[in-house]
Symmetry: C2
């Protein structure tokens, strides 16, 4: 397993400063809703005490590397940090709403926003964060970006967010279907995860003065990386070392997630096993969130599904699918023809995505 890439931490403080500066200063009577947002961003606990519970910041790192791929100039990097703050806030807004939609009670080892403050205020918190992201991006103007550049970056972020929401729409419909193909799944992942990773790279390039063509090439690369990321996530959801991951092996089977390995098995298992897999996933056993996907599978069925996945080779197939995306990422990257030092960092980040154990 590779160690955490340096690119994840290099600009972390700079981006976090941009994110914090996007919040309005004095808000008095409405302070709590901003505190909910700060909690969601991992900056404080539920009582308002400072915390360090932010995510890895992969999208912010992509934006900064997207900028470095075009320019090493410090003003360009500073402008990109505003964009990096925006993509991180959009990503976290989507997680707050996703947790409501999926009924998830924990995120990064802490109670989710809806669990602490209710569904209504969680919807509100996500909505507010979406607005804060726009404020973050506009800070690029203060760092010298032209209005037309900020518009161009905003258009890309806007489109990617729409694609992400389309992906979430599809993901929710998949919960009620047992006939989702691997192809449909990959199209969903490209929207839900890929679009935001693509735009992260692309707006870094735009804010650093890159051309639309360079941004488009980096966008394509980022979408591939997003698919790679999700394939690895799906692999980890079943075959991860529980100590490294922080949650038990087979978590995704237990929760009946229709992740890549399951869909692969549905396409490749013998007819009888396939029928049994469908029946197992469709069996009702309680209520598991707003998607109505049913409760957790009993352990005996979890074991049976795990064994079936092994028999059809879903383990290797998922890993192969991730590697295909990784190679495609490298190809798209070479077409974007950016600075060599950024390429090395991006390849390290992609390799980490492919081989991470959590």
């Amino acid at each position: 397993m590779s160690t955490t890439p340096a690119a994840l931490s290099r600009y972390r403080a700079m981006v976090q400063a941009e994110m914090r500066a996007s919040f309005p200063e004095a808000v008095s009577a409405v302070q709590p809703i901003y505190d909910f947002a700060r909690y969601a961003l991992g900056w404080q606990d539920e009582t308002g005490v400072s915390a360090d519970a932010s995510g890895k910041g992969a999208r912010a790192a992509l934006t900064m590397l997207g900028a470095e791929a075009i320019s090493q100039e410090s003003a360009a990097i500073q402008r990109a940090a505003a964009g990096a703050a925006a993509v991180e806030i959009v990503h976290n807004f989507s997680l707050v709403h996703d947790d409501v939609q999926d009924g998830d009670e924990e995120r990064r080892g802490r109670p989710t926003v809806w669990r602490l403050w209710g569904v209504a205020q969680a919807i509100n918190t996500g909505d507010l964060m979406r607005e804060l992201a726009d404020a973050a991006l506009r800070r690029a103007l203060m760092h010298g970006a032209a209005a037309s550049t900020v518009i161009a970056a905003g258009r890309r972020l806007n489109r990617a967010t729409m694609l992400m929401i389309e992906g979430q729409y599809l993901d929710l419909t998949f919960e009620r279907r047992m006939d989702v193909s691997v192809g449909e799944y990959l199209a969903m992942v490209e929207r839900k995860t890929g679009a935001m990773m693509g735009v992260s790279l692309a707006i870094g390039a735009v804010l650093a003065g890159g051309s639309e063509d360079q941004a488009d090439a980096l966008d394509r690369a980022g979408r591939r990386l997003g698919r790679c990321f999700q394939m690895r996530d799906d692999w980890l959801g079943i075959w991860a070392d529980p100590d490294a991951l922080g949650k038990p092996t087979d978590a995704d089977i237990r929760r009946r997630k229709k992740s890549f390995p399951i869909l692969y098995a549905l396409e490749h298992a013998p007819a009888a096993a396939r029928r049994q897999l469908v029946e197992t996933y469709e069996s009702a056993s309680g209520f598991g969130g707003m998607g109505d996907e049913g409760g957790e599978l009993p352990e005996a069925q979890v074991d049976w599904v795990h064994q079936l996945l092994g028999e059809v080779g879903a383990d290797a197939a998922t890993d192969d699918a991730a590697r295909v995306e990784y190679e495609a990422f490298r190809r798209e990257l070479s077409e974007a023809a950016p600075h060599e030092s950024a390429v090395a960092d991006l390849e390290e980040l992609a390799l980490f995505t492919l081989e991470r154990d959590r």
Copy 2:
């Protein structure tokens, strides 16, 4: 009662065309989520058949009049239509999320989005509409607006939307409190309703080439109009002619809404009546939406509250409060010093807001 102002219909077709053009053209597998948005905007029924169930379009009309106040030039009007489309879409996005948060099952006589397609997809639909609003505003570029102008308009829309969300935060917290003052209530209304009406006028001015000062003055006027609108809404929620309103008199009492008349009574009723009013509102009788505000009040209690409101003069006080805002609106408007024809239309619209019976 005044008749519907001509300004509400003058640019309706132009703004609706801008709204429709903000949707992406071909979306294939994700068509349904865009159909949910079209339903929310009143353009089609739940089966996709064309309908005409949009709202009054008051915010769009304000944007167009805000533009006319600055310029009568047709290019300026066309640019403003993009802004009008954006504010209408933002307003409707907020209604989709509000209906989830309040557990409301009907809107404009039709089932709400969450009622038809579930809470998770309703959250998604609102999120998508927020993105479509940005796409709508950016269409001003196509109509010749400078990038810096679109940024300025976007900044205003962004800030107003944050205020609106702050207002919704406060409104939700008020549901659990019986000690909300009239002053707190007005501060909430200024955010939840006023900010969007203010920005509607202001971005019309900005897109038509007005100065920041002119836009600020129109913003202040619009906030006053928003408060006037809400005071009249609160009055109608209790004393409206049920035939004109389309819902029964006392609807807001029955639903225990802490609207202006109730808060006025809590501040002005004799101690014993105040205590009884608090007890009545706090009595649990079922579950009424995510805000947990309790179920509907029994008719005998509704009648008692209605009588109490009459005894303390809440009827006249609510009407007076609306008139105060109406006059303040006119004052702010005269300070903005716009074109006379737009002033006449805006005053007609404000008078309609003050005196409408539904």
